[in-house]
Amino acid sequence: MVMPIADSPRRDNHDLQRCLLSPAAETRLFWRLRVLVGRSLLQGAMRTARLQVISVGLACSALWIGLFALFAGGFYFMQTGLVHSGMRTQLIHAVFNLFFLALTIMLVFSAAIILYGGLYRSEEVPHLLTTPTRAERIVQHKFEETAFFSCWGFLLMASPMLLAYGMVVGAAWYYYALLLPFVISFVLVPAGIGANLCLLVVRLIPTARVHALVSVGMLAVAVTGFFGYRALAYNNKDVMTPTWFQDVLTRLQFSEQRLLPSWWLSTGLLEAAEPADSPESRPAWRESLLFLTVLTSNALLLNLLLGRVANWALRPSFSALQGLTRANRRAKVGLFDRFIFAISRPLPNATRHLIVKDLRIFRRDPVQWSQFAIFFGLLSLYFFNVRRFDYSGVMERWVILVSFFNVAVVGLLLSTFTTRFILPAISLEGRRFWILGTAPITRDTVLWGKFWFACGGSALPCCTLVLLSDLALRIPARSTSIALLHQFSCLALCSGLSAMAVGFGARLPNLRESSPSRIAAGFGGTLNLVLSSLYITAIIVCTAVPCFLWHDTDSGASAAGMFVGGYIGLGTTASVAAGAVATLVLGAITTVFPLRMGLRAFRRLEF
């Protein structure tokens, strides 16, 4: 028995009044919290997820180096290829303005969405709201996270471009010194706009917040589409002529509006990179500092405004969102469920029921189907636009390669979905094992249900996308066998990627975690993503290389195919057939082995 319990000394009201923290003390306290949590996260990641940290680091480095090489090559071409300095300056200004304008728009939206999730969907904020913390500080705490995520992505994308430009034009030291202050102050402007918008929308129209976001998003897409079309619509015959060039630059002038933060950033940086014309003229860095001041003061103003908006909006908007009633949704057995149940007749009855159950969960969870729809929609848009490029002449021989790249893109997209949704589903099923584990079905049935759901569900949209790409590139007209091989590769990808996600999900489950995204970000998810990428690469190499060389040889487009074909057998019909067989074997191995591994592990798993 734990007795007795001494009461703590009470404090009088006078003492309590002094306990309300000053804004500065609150700021220091939350920074200390952030340091503690950050340190703990880092130590934990290095202890338990070293592979994941290293993989992410390597992937980011590879992306950064690739972007740097791309930008350096581009700027070098402009510097040496465009002899007319006026045209060169105009072009570089246009590139900078357009690039940063696009990032500004993306940052506004991403900041608004990230902050919404951080404020209204996290478990931390309700906890903080019951403490005497200022609403302003809570929002600031979450806004700092938002800005950090935005800044991180921005740095990854913009830093290779800015460093490459500085190196190509031979910028002075102060250009590099000013990069970080410019980037930070710039990111805070669109992030601040997005954060203010988020709070205002939720406070003023809590019931229509999603509609408001979708409307603004659609408007942004429409405006971007309009300006993009206006800028890029041209007559194919005029391409790369000075008239066309001047015309495009004129059409891009909308990105040079003086009130755009992207213009302040690009002009400030370009000024810093310029050498001073003469000792008497004002040094370039002073001009650059003016733009940095404009950016910083606007960032600070928006931050100040955010504090005021937070004090006014956070508690009422939080309360209003909590109070929203969800309309009662009566679950119905749709025609689609019946159709799936009917076409899966060859499978065992229990497996069919599991497939229909997973399908209903997928359909009723907007997070799952909306991501699926957005990414596959964007890919469809790209495939529709592939036909805009002119593939006659010198481009002809690359069409086959592009078509295989498109298959690879579909595979990569699918691998992110299998890692994000199928792999965690096994762990989540484990949490619900009180029902499935005690039902009169074998554990194998559960995994087979997941596999058929993933494989069958992905095959239709993926094969349709590949067909769309082939039609846009006119592949069936060029070679029906290649179009068929694309479909075959796509099916092999669907089967292998689904089996890997199911297998690794069962072999490396995380039964403690309830968040699918965190399960996907763990060791199993990282391993699955890395191995999926290797599998996709292997399948594409097996099919694309022989086909490319065979098509070259067949059409007589290049001597390379004939040369290689003559000596090592590539470029022949037999080599294409061998590639198809290799794909079949690889697909079978990648389907069977992970599934067997997963089934064995799942049978032994203790819940």
Binding site: M3, I5, S8, R10, C19, L33, T130, T131, R315, G323
Partner: protein, 248 residues
């Protein structure tokens, strides 16, 4: 100490809490009872500033929770039904953070944290990360964090969920000791035996309306019955629930 004046909260067409008038003075342990969906958690959320009332007001130590939220929260300790802990902080770091949030001087905070660690027997795991705690350990840490700043009012939503018998005894003794020391405790619970054992007064709520306010003895008198609190509770709420269903 706690004053609820005409407290009402509507969610669309549904009234979760309807015109609730209640006063809980200093040094009283008040148990708030009601069936699922009666409006207990909604009332508590309005008392701690998570929800704003549609009408009426909640006051803690004279401070209106809606307009003087910080002042009211400063005097309140809150144990929610689903508590949040920073998984990547240890129990001690969490207690430190909470004591600093309430502006406690360092020496006072250290003394209070040491007391809570001893009272709730956290010493064995207080320096481990919270992600490794069991439900009972987390619940004990949350209790400790709600008391670390010596609040004048303690609001507890379902305090016994997940606690083992030893911890339940600990919490019951602790709540009584705090009340004897002058603290006001507002406790929502489904465990009627605990309410009967430690509460000074009880309030029974159903469909957002307060059906009864008084002691268990007064409830027996009102219903002219010597039955257990469980039977009295069922008798009292059955009719209200039937009316509620008929209204829909």
């Amino acid at each position: 100490m706690i004053e609820l004046c005409g407290l009402t909260r509507r969610f669309g067409p549904k009234t979760a809490v309807s015109n609730l008038d209640l006063q809980v003075p200093s040094g009283e342990l008040f148990a708030f009872l009601g069936p699922n969906g009666a409006g207990k958690t909604t009332t508590i959320k309005m008392m701690v500033g998570l929800l704003q009332p549609t009408e009426g007001a909640a006051r803690i130590c004279g401070f209106d929770v809606r307009t003087q939220t910080r002042e009211a929260n400063l005097r309140t300790g809150y144990v929610p039904d689903q508590p949040y802990l920073y998984e990547k902080l240890s129990g001690r770091e969490f207690l430190n953070f909470v004591s600093q949030l309430y502006g406690m001087p360092a020496s006072c905070a250290a003394k209070s944290i040491a007391e809570q660690i001893e009272t709730f027997e956290l010493g064995r795991f207080v320096d481990d990360l919270a992600e490794s705690y069991s439900h009972g350990m987390k619940q004990r840490l949350v209790f400790a964090s709600s008391l670390v700043h010596s609040p004048e009012v303690l609001i507890v939503d379902e305090p016994m969920v997940g606690l083992d018998p030893r911890s339940m005894r600990l919490v019951k003794d602790l709540l009584r000791a705090k009340v004897n020391g002058g603290m006001t405790v507002f406790m929502s619970t489904h465990t009627l035996a605990i309410a009967e054992e430690i509460a000074d007064r009880i309030g029974v709520v159903a469909n957002g309306k307060l059906l009864f306010l008084g002691t268990v003895a007064q409830l027996r008198t009102q219903l002219s019955s010597d039955e257990s609190l469980e039977q009295l509770f069922l008798t009292l709420t059955e009719e209200a629930m039937d009316n509620g269903h008929a209204d829909r």
